[in-house]
């Protein structure tokens, strides 16, 4: 399954709970997901500063070597070590997904809470804006923006942000409407606390936490989407490594050297799986009946 599909929960599975992480850790599938996610982050961090071989330098004497001890994932058609390229690509795949999600989280939080708390004509105007942004399916809108800006890594990130922010804005709006009715907010209002402090101290933290959980669950899907666009040559440009671009580079050789698929496909799989496992655990924790 791909981005902008039914992988996103309708509402955040957990209420504003500060102990989400420790409860996740005690859930078997939550722990597996957290461990996988942590391992991937580590892989990306190490890959950003060190790789066993230079990731971009061709070595034609070693072209299309099968996996071995010095090249655990083999080498590609120009003799570049695939492990090094996968490590180098990791921070681009994961980092860019984090940038997009961070941006849509912030824009969504800002627009959504403004609409929800201001109400009236501001709310109407902002919500019509999200309506317009959501008339096209997300991927189609992303293609349209890419068509305007032209292919490229930064343009791809802009296109994905434009395609995805409205959904987060709507969620943040409904979360902040909900937060306004909570007893602690009503109590704060009755105690005469100034409105800006209620928003800053009593409403925003809860909304941000729940929106953040939903955004982090979308990480795997976003990595998949970015690698899809890069596979088409619309995102990361060669010789830069990125998981989707790695698949595109060597796809002509898959019938000769199927191991070239293993590292990039496996890493994309692992990142989506880790998000799904955490998502399942969150759903379990939210409704503790038998799944």
């Amino acid at each position: 399954m791909s981005l902008f599909d039914l992988t996103r929960p309708e509402a955040p599975p957990l209420a504003g709970d500060r102990h989400v992480l420790s409860r996740l850790w005690r859930h078997p599938s939550g722990r597996a997901g957290l461990l996988a996610g942590l391992a991937l982050m580590l892989f990306a961090l190490v890959g950003a500063v060190w790789t066993p071989h230079p990731p971009d330098r061709p070595d034609y004497a070693r072209a299309l070597h099968a996996p071995s001890l010095s090249h655990p994932f083999g080498t590609d058609a120009t003799g570049r070590d695939l492990l090094s390229r996968a490590m180098d690509g990791a921070h681009r795949s994961i980092g860019s997904a984090l940038v997009v999600l961070g941006a849509v989280f912030l824009i969504g939080l800002l627009v959504g809470t403004t609409a929800g708390l201001a109400g009236g004509p501001t709310d109407m105007a902002l919500m019509r804006l999200t309506d317009i942004a959501m008339t096209l399916p997300g991927l189609v809108l992303a293609f349209a923006v890419l068509g305007l800006l032209g292919p490229g890594f930064v343009n791809l990130l802009i296109a994905l942000i434009i395609a995805d922010w409205a959904w987060y804005a709507r969620l943040a709006r409904s979360l902040s409407l909900d937060a306004r009715q909570r007893p602690h907010v009503i109590a704060a209002r009755m105690a005469g606390i100034p409105p800006w402090r209620i928003v800053w101290g009593h409403i925003l933290p809860g909304v941000a936490l729940r929106l953040g959980i939903v955004a982090s669950l979308a990480l795997g899907g976003m990595i998949g989407a970015i690698s899809g666009f890069s596979f088409l040559g619309l995102g990361v440009q060669p010789p830069r490594a990125e998981w989707g671009a790695l698949l595109a580079e060597s796809r002509l050789y898959f019938s000769l050297a199927p191991w070239l698929l293993v590292a990039p496909a496996g890493l994309i799989f692992l990142s989506v799986l880790s998000a799904n496992l955490i998502g399942n655990a969150l759903r379990d924790l939210a409704s503790p009946k038998e799944a």
């Binding site: 399954m1 791909s2 981005l3 902008f4 599909d5 039914l6 992988t7 309506d131 317009i132 008339t135 096209l136 399916p137 997300g138 991927l139 189609v140 992303a142 293609f143 349209a144 890419l146 068509g147 305007l148 032209g150 292919p151 795997g220 899907g221 998949g224 989407a225 690698s227 899809g228 596979f231 088409l232 040559g233 619309l234 698949l247 796809r251 898959f254 019938s255 199927p258 698929l261 496909a265 994309i268 799989f269 692992l270 989506v272 799986l273 799904n276 799944a291």
Partner: protein, 324 residues
């Protein structure tokens, strides 16, 4: 709800259907404004691009002015929009910057290929997920259920294009089928459509299985069981129709992703459809083609969502009640 008056059968149905259709028309209009805006928003001067596309090497100011007037670029933007939508309604999507041919004609040449592939994939994935979910619930916690659950977990974690690449490599390498030909015939569409369908079905199977299980433990299933209905009868006659609605909604949502994913899918199977056409246009900055693709994708998405909702309205009388 207490106090709401049930709108009588057919009248409520027609009113709800009309309201939903009106909403779809509004959405389509909003989408067409976005699509139209792509051209004025595009970097560079439109008249210059059109002249370059016509093969004019040295552009004089007089020619530019003439082309601007011809294309109506001197009109105010709302007027330009009305002219544009007037032409679109008549089936004129402009001229391709690269080939000079009418875009409508080029689209019509490629549309059948995409419709065959996506239609077949959609049909196969609906069939597969129905079948797998029924098997999983029928053999609950047995090995078929466990195998199907594993499949849904894996399928949900593999983006469609990665799954398609893996499957294609496996078929080409493992089964020695050589090149998978793609001449856009039904026969050639079978393997790609099955691969896409298998990937799409993973999420739906999961959803349908969960829905069926929940329905199996509901009150009406209990009553049917007490009256001596067999497990198969409860599953097929009682619970399946009741889980059809969320299933239908999920399909409606996914159609957007299917249409949006077409370029990627067609690139992998070297399928000569609309998606491949869009990719060519993207690299050549062929704006009229990009515009036409986005318009067709948006309209088919709106239509598909409308159809799904109308079917849901016909199936579930509760949806016909006016919202409070």
């Amino acid at each position: 709800m207490i106090g709401t008056i049930r709108t009588s059968g057919r009248g409520g149905m027609v009113a709800a259907a009309l309201a939903r259709t009106a909403q779809a028309v509004l959405t389509a209009l909003a989408a067409s404004v976005i699509v139209w805006a792509l051209l004025p928003l595009a970097p560079g001067d439109v008249a210059t691009r059109v002249l370059l596309a016509r093969g004019v090497q040295e552009i004089s100011a007089a020619e530019l002015d003439a082309t601007r007037a011809e294309l109506g670029l001197n009109d105010p933007l709302p007027v330009q929009f009305l002219h544009w939508i007037g032409r679109v309604v008549q089936g004129d999507l402009g001229q391709s910057f690269t080939s000079q041919a009418p875009v409508t004609q080029e689209i019509l040449e490629r549309l059948p290929a995409t419709l065959i592939l996506l239609g077949l994939a959609l049909a196969l994935s609906i069939l597969l997920s129905l079948l797998l979910a029924l098997i999983a619930v029928g053999y609950r916690d047995g090995w078929p259920d466990r195998a199907i659950r594993l499949y849904t977990q894996i399928g949900a974690a593999l983006p469609t294009f990665v799954f398609a690449l893996l499957a294609l490599t496996f078929i080409v390498v493992g089964l020695q089928m050589g090149r998978v030909l793609s001449d856009a015939s039904w026969r050639a569409a079978l393997v790609p459509a099955f691969i896409i369908g298998l990937d799409r079905a993973a999420g739906w199977t999961q959803l349908l299985r969960a829905g069926l299980l929940e329905a199996m433990s509901s009150g009406y299933a209990e009553v049917a069981r007490a009256r001596g209905a067999s497990r198969r009868r409860i599953l097929l006659r009682h619970t399946l129709p009741n889980t059809a609605l969320p299933f239908l909604t999920a399909i409606g949502v996914s159609i957007g992703a299917l249409i949006g994913g077409a370029p990627l899918i067609e690139a992998i199977f070297t399928w000569p459809g609309l998606g491949a056409y869009l990719l060519e246009a993207l690299s050549a900055r062929n704006y009229p083609v990009i515009q036409a693709y986005v318009l067709i994708a948006a309209l088919s998405y709106v239509t598909a969502a409308l159809l799904v909702d109308l079917i849901a309205l016909a199936l579930d009388p509760r949806l016909r009640e006016p919202r409070s």
